[in-house]
Amino acid sequence: MEKNEKAKMRTQDPKVRAKNFKEVELGFTRTQALKEANRCLHCAVPKCVEGCPVNIAIPDFIEQIKLGNIEKAYEIISDSSSLAAICGRVCPQEKQCESKCVRGLKGEAIAIGSLERYVADEAIKNGFESLKKKRRNGKKVAIVGAGPSGLTCAGDLIKEGFEVTIYEVLHQAGGVLVYGIPEFRLPKDIVKKQVESLEKLGVKINLNVPIGNALTIDDLKKEYDAIYLGTGAGLPKFMGIEGENAQGVFSANEILTRINLMKAYKPDSKTPIKLGKRAYVIGGGNVAMDAVRSLRRLGVDAHILYRRSLDELPARKAEVNHAQEEGVKFNLLTNPVKILVDENNNVTGMEVVDMVLGEPGEDGRRSVTEKPGSNHVVDCDMVVMALGTGPNHAALKDSKVELSDRGLIVVNGTKTSDKKIFAGGDAVTGAATVILAMEAGKNAAKEIIESLS
């Protein structure tokens, strides 16, 4: 193998996987992992660590793979991340650690994400337990939301000896990891095992509890020394165009929740799903890719409709490639104008308009404008809105935590306007990525430890 090329992970054949929900990427073999690890130059000043939101000591864990000491490698990763098997699968590494890799200057960066996944999967297989725990310090912390941010925060706090209780409104822990990201990208068994490893350390998880209604933030303040809000940004956005409430128009969250959380992809599922023959998923992020690839697997002629071009797609690159291989069609530089319906309010098509790219704006993204007179109709009987999600503050009912004009929780670091309450993840930033939510959970743990010691 060329030193400039990264080892290619085995994947399920696109034709086969386009019809199942089994994991697409099969992980590195031992030989592949070893070969890939040996490409690492172990830089004296490792840039990759800077690129990692939780600053995993990347060259150090890769060094242990070279030595064949996977347990030690797992220990090193676990010092920075309690959810390695998940990060290895869903982080946008090409924008983070791998984008900084020196190898990338002349060829391909080290496949850091794949190596992380390899180590974490081995750890699960062999039952390594590298999460060390200090003596109980008598302090209690409540965490609202069992998503990636809350779980990370819980992992870091329990290791430091805090008593940690997570409150979750759904019947399963994991947040977006269980309701959003599909089985073929992140097997739910992996999530379950990572959650169980936290429970083994003593994290208590109370499911089915809507904070704000069953218990208020004030109730939690009486019982706990600190509270972390990792409530996410779950409220799906709609465009506000004509026909959006027709039968056949869904939020990506609804499709994904039915498929992932409620297992509607299985024929014997008790929760139904309504599938069209041809579906347009509006949006270009990871959620759009997850929705469109799920529909494709269920036999739908599944299209992405995105207003910018391929280069601007915000989704993880691997997901876009996988989607294309699986037969998802991409309608780029196109935007919906209105959804057409029949007399029973069923979707019959969609009027769309072509878009033209302009100069990059202040945020570095290229602007888009409608091309006059280019309106046309596409045939479809299903439209899925994957336009991002907004904050949902049902949990904050009756609390005085300060919110911004956009409805996001205002923080300094992770401190909110109430000194006992900390917040992070999508509830603070708006919809972002799993790893950024984890970074916030990690930072919150640090600040909670400081504030309580």
């Binding site: 019947h171 089915n208 809507p210 799906p236 939020s251 929740t257 959380l261 008790k270 309010n345």
Partner: protein
């Protein structure tokens, strides 16, 4: 797991279930709902809270068998896999009863809609408000919990579609005759009934509150399946409702949206019947 104390049939198509769910009732207020799952692989079903006792942590719900998942519920004997609640917002009047002391209030219930009406009337009765109730259903044996509601309301009027009990006709016939006695009307029941009540109250310029019960998955503001059109804008019944101003709701759209999964649900119901018959053996 949540312990089930009772799960009994109370009419040809309705059941009463008593569940131990302390956190769901500790702070519950009339108008809120819960989401239950019979088993780990079951559908999430939203049910409005019928009665509760926060001291002993008992939650009571009344449900009508309308499909696979409610059929499955009737087979529950000892425990439910999950109960999440309370969800949604409290009834506007119950959340602030002092503000409504001098108002003349009428509740209109249709079918199992009496289940969420009862705790509201009881709550207000205990705070000294006199509430009239108009209760309608298809036929006499589908009128539920009559003894309970009669104990907490001021006046009660009944209507049945077939005339087997009370007035032969619709609740709105009774409402329109008596509309001048009231300032506020709260309607909970099938969408066509709520739509009709909204029209009558609009005609006489009376405030109208309705409680929407659309399709729902998570019930916490995440999926948007429950969106209703309120003054032309989408609102989520789970976190923005379930109550809305009856004069602002697009009922025709709500009726159509109830039917989205009709075909799929019919298939699931058949599957469920077979599965339950098998399990029984």
């Amino acid at each position: 797991m949540y312990k089930v104390y009772e799960n009994k049939q109370i009419s040809p198509d309705s059941y009463l279930m008593e569940i131990e769910a302390p956190l769901s009732v500790k702070k519950a207020l009339p108008g809120q709902f819960v989401i239950v799952m019979a088993k780990e692989d079951s559908e999430r079903i939203p049910l409005t809270i019928y009665d509760y006792n926060s001291k002993d942590g008992i939650l009571k719900v009344i449900y009508q068998v309308i499909g696979a998942s409610t059929e499955e519920l009737t087979y529950v004997k000892k425990e439910l896999f999950s109960v999440a609640g309370p969800l949604g917002n409290a009834n506007e009047i119950c959340a602030n009863p002092d503000k409504f002391m001098n108002k003349r209030i009428c509740y209109v219930a249709g079918g199992v809609g009496i289940a969420p009406v009862y705790p509201q009337v009881k709550f207000l009765h205990r705070r000294g408000l006199k509430i009239d109730v108009i209760y309608g259903s298809r036929q006499a044996n589908m009128l539920l919990i009559r003894d309970k509601i009669e104990r907490v309301c001021n006046k009660i009027y009944y209507a049945t579609d077939d005339g087997s009990f009370g007035t032969h006709g619709f609740v709105t016939d009774i409402l329109e005759k008596n509309i001048h006695h009231y300032d506020i009307v709260v309607a909970i029941g099938p969408i066509p009934m709520m739509k009709a009540v909204a029209e009558v109250t609009k005609k006489y310029n009376k405030k109208c509150i309705v409680s929407m019960n659309p399709l729902m998955v998570d019930g916490s503001g995440m999926c948007g399946a429950c969106r209703c059109e309120i003054e032309g804008k989408p609102k989520f019944a789970c976190v923005d409702g379930p109550e809305f101003d009856g004069h602002k709701v697009n009922f025709d759209l709500a009726m159509k949206r109830m039917k989205i999964y009709k075909e799929e649900e019919a298939i699931k119901w058949e599957e469920m019947k077979k599965r339950l018959a098998k399990e029984k053996k």
